[in-house]
Symmetry: C2
């Protein structure tokens, strides 16, 4: 098995732990996991793709808001448009820590941008973005900045009858546009923060309200349970907002960003999760040491 799977992973404790878990889960014995219970869930930003300097969805949203400010310059005096125009990164980092006022302001702006639109309209905007906008540092579309080792992990898990889900604080409907082509994950296996929809006159239309809260922190196991009826057997994350999801899983994998040559090195927003990984024996993946190829 080890020869043909996880080929972009270096030999080492992380790869070994993953292979051992999967072997145990699929082999009669004390670690066996019933096929129905083989749910694997992964965070997206920083776990499946680059999240520095900001998660790519911000780039998408900022372009929309810049268009809105052009159409209505009075918006520039208000948040979050003001922070956007001033490139106030600290303001947006308040989202990761769930600073309530920041979150409320952002959700209101999301609603202003998208309430009343159909999925077709939204999807077309996202597709245009994935096809035309490039990450400034790497010079490629953001969807090409997905970590190849994680896609190989999906393959390994699926080959062993795990169902792979993405569970991100980011927009569910944003991710669903590229999930099938980029991750090989069906839309219905993408869980994330999402607006409610109404069905009127034979059409699905986006509403103003968020349904089920942000998919961050405790929201992750809540969304996963609501969606699947289970908590995960295997979970992967990279940040403090993934802690509850990782805690709820039998096997937890934490990606550590320590490779400033090929990607970024930072622990900001991951301090508590790195400490817990130590305490609880989670498997920590060093991007620098454990991954031979990144993209």
């Amino acid at each position: 098995m080890t020869e043909q799977v996880l080929t972009s992973w270096n030999e080492g404790p992380a790869k070994q732990a993953v292979l051992e878990y999967v072997h145990g889960a699929t082999t009669p014995g004390p670690a066996f996991v019933e096929p129905a219970d083989r749910i694997a869930t992964f965070d997206n930003d920083g776990t499946l793709w680059v999240e520095q300097p900001l998660p790519p969805q911000f780039d998408f949203v900022f372009r929309t808001w810049e268009d809105e400010v052009k159409a209505d310059p009075s918006l520039a005096a208000r948040q979050p448009y003001k922070a956007l125009m001033e490139r106030d990164q600290e303001f947006f980092e308040g989202l990761a820590t769930q600073e309530p006022k920041t979150v409320a302001t952002l959700l209101e702006a999301f609603a202003r941008s998208w309430a009343g639109t159909t999925p077709e309209e939204f999807d077309a905007r996202v597709r245009q973005w994935t096809q035309t906008v490039r990450d400034p540092r790497f010079g490629v579309p953001y969807v090409e900045l997905v970590y190849r080792p994680m896609l190989e992990l999906f393959d390994l898990l699926r080959a062993n009858e795990f169902r792979v889900f993405v569970c991100s604080g980011g927009g569910r409907d944003f991710m669903r546009v590229f999930a099938e082509d980029t991750w090989g994950i069906l839309k219905e296996n993408v869980i994330g923060s999402a607006a409610a929809y109404t069905y009127t006159s034979g059409k699905i239309v986006r509403s103003r309200e968020l349904l089920g809260g942000l998919d961050l922190g405790p929201g992750k196991p809540e969304h996963i349970f609501a969606h699947t009826g289970r908590l995960p057997a295997f979970a992967g994350g990279n940040a403090d907002v993934d802690i509850e999801m990782l805690q709820s899983a039998a096997f937890a994998l934490l990606v550590r960003h320590d490779d400033d040559q090929r990607e970024y090195a930072y622990t900001k927003g991951a301090e508590a999760s790195l400490t817990m990984a130590d305490q609880l024996g989670w498997t920590v993946v060093s991007m620098k040491n454990d991954w031979a190829t990144l993209f």
Copy 2:
């Protein structure tokens, strides 16, 4: 193909229409449906199992409420406990028509029964019910009153790369307890009305509020879109609360209850859907004529 599939279906226009749709959806040509888009959704009560005199979940809930009235007799003066003690069927039929006050009263009682419980506690109660309680007319557990022709239809659809979902106004978590054994459908493919859950101290616990509204009428395509990111290619229902789901699908199948010998004959609650089936060319299944075997 026709020899080995839908063996409990009589030859006739309904079976023919289903086979033709599936053949078209899977054959290059104008009716081809991309595998990713092959979503099939089915109502439960009256579509997959007997719903007369009341949907089986009521039997489960009534037993819980009877226990609660025994523990606190003062409840008997209030709805819905009063209606239960007086066997006031009309009161409960207000749920199917979404009479707002009835719905609110019932939801409040559901919350009183289950808020604060873990999935394990709830599942154990449902499992005890499926194993011990029998339908008074048929003398078997309710889960044995699933229509065999529909299970064969699931097999046919899955063999043709459709993903089969159940989408019911009934309780999502109630159905998930028996979905895998009874329908061969994974919990994550069960969509229904559901409470919110909170994750606290490492546990998922049921909260008081309903999340995303009742999965009835327009709520069906809304729940389906939220869960899968798509509207169905194939949908099956039997009542007016299924109309929007059937309208949202490329192929719609409506079960007509016209067999009072083997099951029940009634059109109550299905009048509008039967009229629409005529107007829109939906495939109507006569239980009496189209199904050789029922259970």
